[in-house]
Point group: C2
Chain length 133, copies 2
């Protein structure tokens, strides 16, 4: 694993830690500033713009968060952008969602620019099919 | 709209044209070669690697395709990577899916590196909320 892959996976973990601990300030600190953030919550249309995205997280973190965890995360680096695929679900249970998280490098740190989570039709038998790299 | 935004939206449209016309060769030509492609079909786990991704498209394009269209596409450029958000659905009907499509620049052309489509809980009232840029 490269340093970039490790650091973007760490940023991805920071996102789920903020989610799980209902830490709005931590969540806010993670999202990008240089481009309009976007977010697709499960079943939702796209939210566009940092204001709309953070308002959704403020509401979601008031209502839920505790117990969520990510698993089987894998990162792909493309210059100053990167994306992570991972599962999401209640801690210790089979995952119910799968996410695409896009990060961009801002001031030397990976920040979240886009989050898209959608349902898994059934718990995955394996974390992913095909070669991992 | 910048030239890059226009060209990545054109590549995105090429993807849906190949899908709609069940054009496997066109689909194959669009996907990236420089990094392992990934794909999350609605409800599926992640496919990882060009072989697994293209095998899924070969099977899908045998079975379906005609009539799908994308709408409300918007592009974000991040250096030599970009992503497009758009709706998907049967032509002329309210969209049923929303997609995140990640492109990378290869030899001066935008190629698809990751596709993630998931269900909309209900037809969107508006194409997106918040500012468009």
């Amino acid at each position: 694993m490269t340093d970039d892959e490790l650091s973007v996976l760490t940023a991805n973990e920071t996102f789920y830690q903020a989610f799980a601990t209902q830490d709005y300030a931590g969540m806010d600190a993670l999202w990008a500033h240089g481009k309009p953030a976007t977010c697709i919550h499960p079943g939702w249309s796209a939210l566009v713009g940092r204001g709309a995205v953070m308002a959704s997280w403020r509401a979601i973190l008031r209502a839920e968060g505790m117990g969520i965890e990510s698993s089987a995360a894998r990162a792909t680096i493309a210059g100053d952008a990167a994306y992570v695929l991972c599962f999401e679900g209640p801690r210790g249970e089979p995952p119910t969602l799968i996410a695409t998280n896009i990060f961009v490098r801002e001031d030397g740190r990976w920040r979240l620019l886009h989050h898209h989570a959608g349902p898994l039709a059934r718990p995955p038998e394996t974390v992913a099919s095909g070669p991992s790299n």
